[in-house]
Assembly symmetry: C2
Homo-oligomer: 329 residues x 2
């Protein structure tokens, strides 16, 4: 099946640019709705961090290390390297008797403006704690220590990565279609979009009174929804939209325009991918779907910020308009 | 006709994201080659700044104001607001007896890192001179003064904008299909991709011994090709690629993934648009076409930087690969 046009940029009454992709909503009884091709194989990238964190919680490693929900939210985060994220990951590593140099995510400039300016003014270089994936890697190191495994935890045949592959197949209910290497050096397992939506449905429906898997899923989902500041950061879509939904829904973005959502009150999972990797479109599309499902108020300023609508230039003049494509959401 | 897949991102042996669009190469005898739909109507955005500067040169206003080729390159620029651009536009305005507040482009943070850091350290705000379009607007003000026209030079019915509309129709050899408002508040006239390529062919073939139109075209084209540092800035595609081609070719990017090229030695014009507005794809596509036409060496570091190829992460690991799609270039 073809891609579904989803988000369009209009200017002067004319279509200027367009984004197409795939989206799936999965419910208790199976697929509820889909646009584009639900069987499309994608790399979930950072959108599957809650799946990658499942072994950490389910195995008891998180409890053994005394991790709080704030840590767990950070283990699912693509954070912006703000002071709170850097401090939290630094303290987490110290608690494990490890340090920044044990991370294998690499260093990049923080997305957080204040921290970026602080580094510039102090003439300091960014470190691995600033990497948006450092929380996930702290989780990986916690689990690696728990498993008494080799410290090179991002290798494909490392017991942790094998466990992640297995749990991915279990929650997506399909064999993974291969793997790529993510920006943070960890393997990223390819899934169908339907499989990823199915996994999100399991997270949405998981009960904290269920079996170990269910309890781990519910705990990670709720940790994300109740600590949105740890999952991304000020000004970022995941943080602002989870706040706007008041902890009712957990959502997560991934590189190359992936977005997922877990909606416990409706036991629904959602996954979408914009084929060209354009983030402006994946954010507009997920907001449109969350509004459509009735869990995000269209009028909320954080929804308004990303919902299709008028775009203005530096002088406040109306220049273009982001619109949903006909036939989508 | 449909869009042509042009640039793909592969990861772990699998297609992760893809960009499609339209491209046209125009020669003396007409269309030489096309991908996608040559009749697609697009907004050229900043890729048509040399067309917008034509009235300035052709009318004699540029000479009357004593503008150098460096000024003319700046009038066609989407510059990064580095010190040299800010100084040059500031002096240009002073020479006209005008100031920064006469500009109508709006202020935004400069793309140039050094100037951005300087502003941060000095706790200064960016001004309109930092706007990437400030050179074009200095040209607009020069022409406005020459015409003794109203100072509100970005209004659609301003004599300058009427002149730009007319010259756009003449060089594209078609009626403009409407207009949008650009990020810098100026009208941007919609053209077909073929029309834009045709215009670029006229610029490519223009002789400095021809009529006033031809001389103006040749002068703007050569000003761009010989002052690439004024057209964009350090690290930017237009500057680095024009340097790599040693002044033989003039190229210009536009927002939402437009790129044009004027190739005098082959009397060829080129225009392309990536439908989703993704700049990584428009840069890779124009480099691939310039290499194919034999005017850019594939092995040149500035071409290598943008040519499809292996992508590495923060730790230097191979993660993905940007590739040209089958059937393109």
């Amino acid at each position: 099946m073809d891609m579904q046009p989803m988000v369009e940029l209009w200017r002067g009454g004319r279509l200027e640019s367009q984004h197409a992709g795939h989206a799936v909503i999965w419910g208790e009884g199976g697929m509820v709705e889909a646009w584009g091709n639900p069987a499309a194989i994608i790399y979930p990238r950072s959108s599957c961090k809650m799946i990658q964190a499942l072994p950490l919680v389910e195995s008891g490693a998180a409890d053994a290390a005394g991790l709080s929900d704030r840590h767990l939210a950070l283990s699912c985060a693509s954070h912006e390297g703000a002071a709170l994220h850097v401090e939290a990951t630094g303290r987490w590593l110290a608690g494990l008797g490890l340090s920044e140099s044990d991370l294998r995510c690499g260093a990049h400039e923080p997305y957080d403006r204040d921290e970026r300016l602080r580094l510039i003014r102090a003439e300091e270089k960014p470190c691995q704690l600033h990497n948006n994936c450092s929380g996930k890697h702290c989780g990986f190191l916690t689990m690696t220590r728990h498993m008494k495994a080799d410290p090179e935890y991002v290798e494909l045949d490392h017991p942790l990565q094998r466990a992640i592959r297995q749990v991915t197949e279990e929650v997506c209910q399909e064999t993974v279609a291969g793997h790529g290497i993510d920006g943070c050096s960890a393997p990223n397992f390819a899934t169908s979009l339907a499989g990823l939506a199915r996994a999100m449905q399991s997270f949405a429906a998981a009960r904290d009174t269920g079996d170990a898997r269910q309890r781990a899923m519910a705990r990670l989902r709720d940790a994300m929804a109740t600590h949105p500041e740890m999952v991304a950061g000020e000004g970022r879509a995941c943080t602002e939209l989870m706040r706007a939904m008041g902890g009712r829904v957990a959502i997560k973005t991934g590189a190359e325009a992936v977005f997922v959502a877990m909606i416990p009150e409706q036991r629904l999972g959602l996954a979408l991918k914009i084929a060209d990797g354009g983030t402006r479109a994946s954010e507009a599309a997920v907001v449109a779907l969350l509004v459509r499902l009735g869990v995000l108020e269209a009028g909320h300023p954080m929804a308004q910020k990303r919902l299709p609508g008028v775009q203005r230039n530096w002088r406040g003049l109306e220049t273009g308009e982001l619109r949903l494509a006909t036939g989508f959401a």
